[in-house]
Amino acid sequence: MASDSGYVDYVAVLGLEPDFKPADVRRVYRKKIKDLLIEISQVQVTEERRNRFLLAIAQLNAAFYILRDKDRCEKYLADRAQVMQIEEDWRAQADKTEASDQFRRQFDQALRDFLSVYMEELMLEAGRDPECVENSNWDAAHERHASSVLRRYRQQLFHEIHERLPFYDITQPVVDWDERSRFVAAIIAGEGQ
């Protein structure tokens, strides 16, 4: 079974049961976004926190925007299941060069599409939804700043997933972390330079 990590689960973001109803989505979203806004108002906002909070608001907005609409929700769940299945297929074929390469390309494209639609485009689109705007106070300034935060988030997810996949662009490294640690110590001591 392919790992779930990286393919953000919006059902889990809102903490919903698998058989949730649209009314549950609205109720849980309102509570969560309210709690988050209260938390933001109570702490000093540093640059790091601001990015984290923007991402958290964008995630809640996206979860609400996608899950409350039946068609959008079904498509999201199907796309997510599909990209996870392709990863599994590729892993199964990883030792067969020709087939592996074909699956890798297919997976790479499917993953990029999935992340850019659900981890960026729809997150920004959700921020323009009147109900999300009303509940989260999201505005054009948030969107401007969030676009680079979301791009970074999407690429980070891509790399997280990429890092656990079979090696194809490089032979599998055999890393001796004790030796790595000694190398770092030598550089810090100014010996290696």
Partner: protein, 358 residues
């Protein structure tokens, strides 16, 4: 009639090993990857020829260099050489051999080519862990009171940072202080205390760490440490990353003198407006025709007086990143704004960095 191209001489293992060893020894990730691409001069089916004078740069100029010798020994390993040969004969994207790439990344770190190292470690999927190792050892050094080592660890860790928001694809995060300085001074300080340079010590140190380390998460690791240690950290950071800082400090002190003279001139002009001008003031005013932009020029080391304040600031921050923490914007006439030195007289950091006029 066009002459048929001469068939290429068979490439020897020695030439292949030498070319790769040179890229490995010099931490050159760009040429390392170039040697594998479809028109690489090392490919038998390519029309490019490694023996052509234009590819001289791909061969080592000094075969006795210890880094090169060690890389050459690695590249002569029959298994690695066979893999490289197989990739050079293969159509499609190559599979890079991990051992030379790891050695290349290590050499890039040794040679302070940190963006090349970051790229190589990223391909090896070990960049984040190595970055974390640098930070962990640097924190341990700071705990033990060894600021020099601590700073070196942080310099390396931030140098290995990656910009996942880069478009169209993630790239190593490059130092871009010329842009960061503009953001730092993006808003004109309406009140003197709004100026970055006049922030209270703790806030100033915090701003400095975030600006210089370029990564809020990494800078955040230092926030729980005492202010005195963070000031010492910044002092070492500036001296380790900017070998010409003392030259800037001398220019800064000179600019402070010019700013003081300019202040006196403004006072004279004010007295003249109020009809309280003395004969000495009149003589001084006649002599003093200096352009206030001379202050910004002195700071940035430029001779031109025709530039805008932000051009001086960008220039200065590019050469001496920390300089942006000790200057401010100042409107001196209706359509004239300059960058001038400004600092808090009680600032320990200013004293340690030699910016205070003697």
């Amino acid at each position: 009639m066009a002459r048929a191209p001469q068939p290429k001489a068979q490439l020897t293992d020695a030439v292949i090993a030498k070319s790769f060893a040179h890229t490995v020894a010099t931490g050159d990730i760009v040429n390392f990857r170039f040697l594998f691409i479809s028109y690489s001069p090392l490919r038998q089916d390519s029309t490019e020829d490694i023996n052509s004078p234009k590819y001289e740069y791909l061969l080592p100029p000094d075969e006795n260099d210890p880094l090169y010798r060690s890389a050459f020994d690695l590249m002569r390993n029959p298994e690695i050489l066979a893999h490289v040969r197989a990739q050079l004969n293969r159509q499609g994207p190559p599979q890079l051999p991990w051992e030379p790439l790891m050695r290349l990344a290590d050499n890039a770190v040794r040679l302070n080519k940190l963006t090349a190292a970051a790229q190589a470690y990223e391909i090896l999927r070990v960049r984040r862990r190595i970055q974390e190792e640098f930070l962990a050892q640097a924190d341990a050094a700071l705990d033990a009171g060894d600021i020099e080592r601590g700073v070196r660890g942080y310099v390396m860790a931030t140098g290995l940072d990656y910009d996942y928001a880069a478009f169209p694809e993630p790239l190593p995060a490059v130092p871009n202080y010329q842009e960061r300085a503009l953001i730092l001074h993006g808003e004109y300080p309406k009140n003197p205390e709004d100026a970055v340079a006049l922030q209270p010590s703790e806030e100033h140190v915090r701003t400095g760490l975030h600006y210089l380390l370029r990564n809020a998460e990494i800078a955040g690791r230092l926030e729980t440490r005492p202010v005195a240690l963070r000031i010492e950290f910044l002092q070492h950071w500036v001296h380790q990353t900017d070998p010409l800082w003392d030259e800037f400090a001398a220019r800064y002190r000179k600019a402070c003198g010019l700013a003081k003279e300019y202040g006196e001139r403004l006072e004279r002009e004010q007295r003249a407006e109020q009809g309280q001008q003395t004969l000495a003031d009149e003589v001084e005013a006649a002599r003093d025709t200096r352009d206030p932009r001379g202050i910004s020029a002195a700071l940035s080391g430029r001779t031109s007086l025709e530039l805008e304040w932000w051009q001086y600031l960008k220039d200065m921050a590019y050469r001496h990143p920390a300089s942006a923490l000790f200057v401010t914007r100042q409107i001196v006439a209706k359509d004239l704004e300059i960058v001038m030195p400004r600092f808090r007289s009680d600032s320990e950091l200013v004293r340690r960095l030699g910016l205070e006029a003697v």
